[in-house]
Amino acid sequence: MSLQSPLGRVIGRGSAKQGVSHFWVQRVTAIALIPLTLWFALRVTGLPDYEHETVRAWIATGWHPVWLILLIGTLAWHSALGVQVVLEDYVHEKGIKVAALVTSTFLHVLAVVAGTYAVLRVAFTFTAG
């Protein structure tokens, strides 16, 4: 057990570089989303039709599952941070604010897991027929 105060222990050690993590991750995911969303938008609008077979074949093509899973994860992370800021700014009642923040986190994690599972399932089960 140390007799030093918590403040005494950290003083002079510099920043843990965690203070700007929200700001920084929001920007890093933003940069990653530029190519990922443009790729997705151009590819999806370029499909010949949106029949089940066409869409499954497209998801399973080549390295598409990798880009799709990266897109889902990055989008969810960027979106979760953005929604967090909006809720913190506009929801003033403490209980409702916490409930909304927790709900948003749960929904974003659910979206990542469900979306990733869906892409992998199509990728591993699709056979042209």
């Binding site: 530029i34 889902i72 953005g82 869906a118 892409v119």
Partner: protein, 129 residues
């Protein structure tokens, strides 16, 4: 209670269109989060079964949802270009008033151009048929 000075807020500022572009960034961000939910639903339906995909197609292909998707596409184009504008500001560039006004105009023009391109591609794919 004694009237304490408040930091300036929306009721106090004179309206400027650079304000509108800032507020629109948040609004389009929230719209895109809702659209992310549609994307996940679409992928999960494609991975589940022909029946669930047909059900998703009926919902996503219905006129009100299609109109929402057009709005989503517009929100995407705007958030992308205005996001680039924000990243440039984060580098400490373009913060002068005349520069911010010029970049706001560039964002709006670029948004319309990319939206027209993507909407035309989507129409050609029969998504809007």
């Amino acid at each position: 209670m004694r009237q304490r000075p408040l930091s300036p807020h929306l009721d106090i500022y004179r309206f400027a269109y650079t304000m509108a572009t800032s507020i629109a960034h948040r609004i389009t961000g929230v719209i895109l989060t809702a659209g992310f939910g549609v994307l996940i639903y679409w992928l999960v339906a494609a991975a589940s079964s022909a029946e669930s995909y047909a059900a998703a197609q009926a919902i996503i292909g219905s006129t009100p949802v299609k109109l929402l998707l057009v709005g989503w596409l517009l929100a995407f184009c705007y958030h992308l270009f205005n996001g680039l504008r924000h990243l440039n500001w984060d580098l400490g560039r373009g913060l002068e008033r005349h520069e911010a006004r010029r970049s706001a105009r560039i964002v709006i023009i670029a948004t319309v151009v990319l939206f027209a391109l993507l909407a035309a591609r989507a129409f050609a794919s029969g998504v809007m048929s």
